[in-house]
């Protein structure tokens, strides 16, 4: 019996030291944001800190362990996203009367930033989904809101945003997909390019031309999967954002009920831009989360990697580089959070590239999480308004102010 005693005590102690278990095993604990000077909880209300805590926990436990697998195998993590929806992440800024959570843009930014530390690509898709749900919530009539929003908020159904075409990216108002009125249906013809979720999602928010050339001739309709004439191109091979499928969406005499049009004819372009204004902040928030995770990873690497007889963290150049990265991260975070009300652009991706450089050759290997962050957010400089278009908008604003 004496032999059982001490061994049993050790076993029981082992089961109680969950702290050691979790500390040793996974890198997800490294992304919990413990470093105090870049603490993302600074300046938030008590309630926002709680939202952030839930999002961080969800990211660390449900997303981070699978991030690499989702990227390599190009898996669209439907079950995990539905779990996120159960916590209220499916329609964060959608009204509660149709199943949304009814939070503010700032709350949303904080949440996406935290979720991104688990997987940027998946969080970015969740943000696109949120944007679509918001568009129907905001511009739809009662029937449309009640028909589509509850399922989108619970992620029973998934959504895609279809604006870009092979011939119109930045010049979105020049889109060519036509919608001809025939009785009580619009007949859609044309194609959309680079649609996130395309082919796997159920609800498509489509900007199409019902009137004359230019922005005023564009309307917005909701097309459901399974509608005859709705087809998809091949799944694109991308360097990042691999946990969401990207396909061309093709309309061949696709009949969409007029009842599915959001708002009036000719209002589609304005709706699309309004959606993107918020979407852009969400994407920037995702970049912030990635930048934060990368600062953590770079820091941990510097503390561990030894060259020339000491850890890299003793190298003053690298110390300063890390400090600069942290400073830019905090500055970007303040900008994005301020932008949740002011709508501007940011560039936290520069931080990720430097984190990669710090990892040296190791950073290039796919075994390391850093490379996935860099690949996933590279596209953030392009979509939802390229950096160049953002500069256009800002300079126009400055120069026309009088």
């Amino acid at each position: 019996m004496a032999a059982v005693g001490p061994l049993g005590r050790i076993a029981r102690l082992g089961s109680s030291i969950c702290r050691n278990q979790r500390l040793i095993c996974n890198r997800s604990s490294q992304r919990r944001g413990i470093a105090s000077c870049v603490d993302p909880a600074h300046g938030l209300s008590e309630e926002q800190k709680e939202f952030q805590e839930v999002a961080f926990n969800f990211a660390a436990n449900e997303m981070a362990p699978h991030m690499a697998e989702w990227d390599q195998k190009e898996i669209f993590p439907i079950e995990t996203m539905r779990k996120a929806a159960q916590l209220g992440f499916g329609g964060i800024y959608v009204h509660p009367d149709v199943g949304g959570t009814g939070l503010s843009r700032l709350d949303t930014s904080v949440i996406f930033e935290a979720l991104s530390t688990g997987c940027v690509s998946t969080t970015a898709y969740i943000s696109i989904h949120n944007m679509c749900a918001w568009m129907i919530d905001t511009f739809g009539n009662t029937e449309q809101r009640e028909k589509f929003c509850p399922d989108l908020c619970s992620m029973e159904k998934f959504a895609s945003y279809c604006l870009t075409e092979p011939g119109s990216g930045s010049d979105a108002a020049s889109l060519l997909t036509t919608a001809q009125l025939k009785g009580d249906h619009y007949i859609l013809n044309g194609s959309k390019a680079f649609i996130s979720g395309g082919g796997d999602t159920d609800v498509y928010i489509v900007m199409c031309r019902t009137g004359a050339k230019g922005a005023k001739g564009i309307s917005c309709v909701v097309v459901e999967k399974g509608t005859p004439g709705l087809n998809f191109g091949k799944k694109e091979k991308k360097i990042g954002w691999n946990s969401q499928p990207t396909r061309a969406v093709i309309f061949e005499d696709c009949a969409v009920p007029v009842a599915n049009r959001l708002g009036a004819e000719g209002q589609g372009f304005t709706m699309a831009m309004k959606g993107l204004n918020g979407g852009r902040i969400n994407i920037a928030s995702c970049s912030l989360g990635a930048a934060h995770a990368c600062v953590q990873l770079a820091r941990d690497h510097l503390l561990v990697r030894k060259q020339f007889g000491e850890t890299l963290s003793n190298n003053q150049y690298l110390q300063f580089k890390l400090a600069e990265m942290a400073t830019k991260l905090v500055a970007s975070r303040l900008l994005v959070r301020g932008a949740a009300t002011a709508l501007q652009e940011n560039r936290p991706d520069a931080i990720c590239n430097q984190a990669l450089q710090m990892h040296g050759g190791y950073g290039y290997l796919k075994d390391y999480a850093v490379q996935q962050f860099v690949r996933d957010i590279r596209v953030h400089q392009i979509l939802e308004g390229t950096n160049e278009v953002m500069r256009m908008i800002i300079s126009r604003n400055l120069l026309t102010e009088s």
Binding site: R32, I34, S36, E50, L87, I92, I111
Partner: protein, 254 residues
Amino acid sequence: MSGRVLVGVKRVIDYAVKIRVKPDNSGVVTDGVKHSMNPFCEIAVEEAVKMKEKKLIKEVVAVSCGPQQAQETIRTALAMGADRGIHVEVSGKDFDLLGPLQVSKIMAALAKKEDAQLIILGKQAIDGDCNQTGQMTAALLDWPQGTFASEVSLEGDKVKVVREIDGGLETIRINTPAVLTADLRLNTPRYATLPNIMKAKKKKIEKVKPADLGLDMTSRLEVLRVDEPPQRLAGVKVETVADLVAKLRETGRL
């Protein structure tokens, strides 16, 4: 039976944080350090909320003892499904010396005041690792205890508890009212949902002082010194069993 369950929740340094000892060796650094709910307390809250969802009990009351920040931990319990909270205000020197004996006196007094049917606690806190509060509370109330619970089932006015013990698993049946302490495998705590966090804001947290309950918080213990554990020394590899035995004899282990 009142159908009311008291759950004790403790605010501790987050499990993922690297602990540092204060330069004067009087304790560990807590300023500016991330804190969260003790993991075993999370499991206790989850168990109570599950009982309520199965309609086996009527109300879950979360209790925490400490300074103002203890309310954060109560809010987390409310967001997980507790109905209301009680914050027992203990701060300054009293808080530094707050230990299992004081907390069990508080829990016992509250249990009588609230007419509780069950008290569920975590088996221990990850900072003190005392594993005493549950047992002491039961003794002060003269209630049965089901500690290290890995499975709990309410059966009328009795509770069946499967306990994790040295030799394996022990199943006992105890009368209520009773004290239970949660072990790791009892359940997996839920995430708070965003809507529940918002609803939690409207739930009540009552503030109480130990003096209001007629309790004396004096500690019989004094912390003399806190040190880091000794550095782990490298091991030595041996080639054969004979070598191993010789080494063990050499270092006096055999």
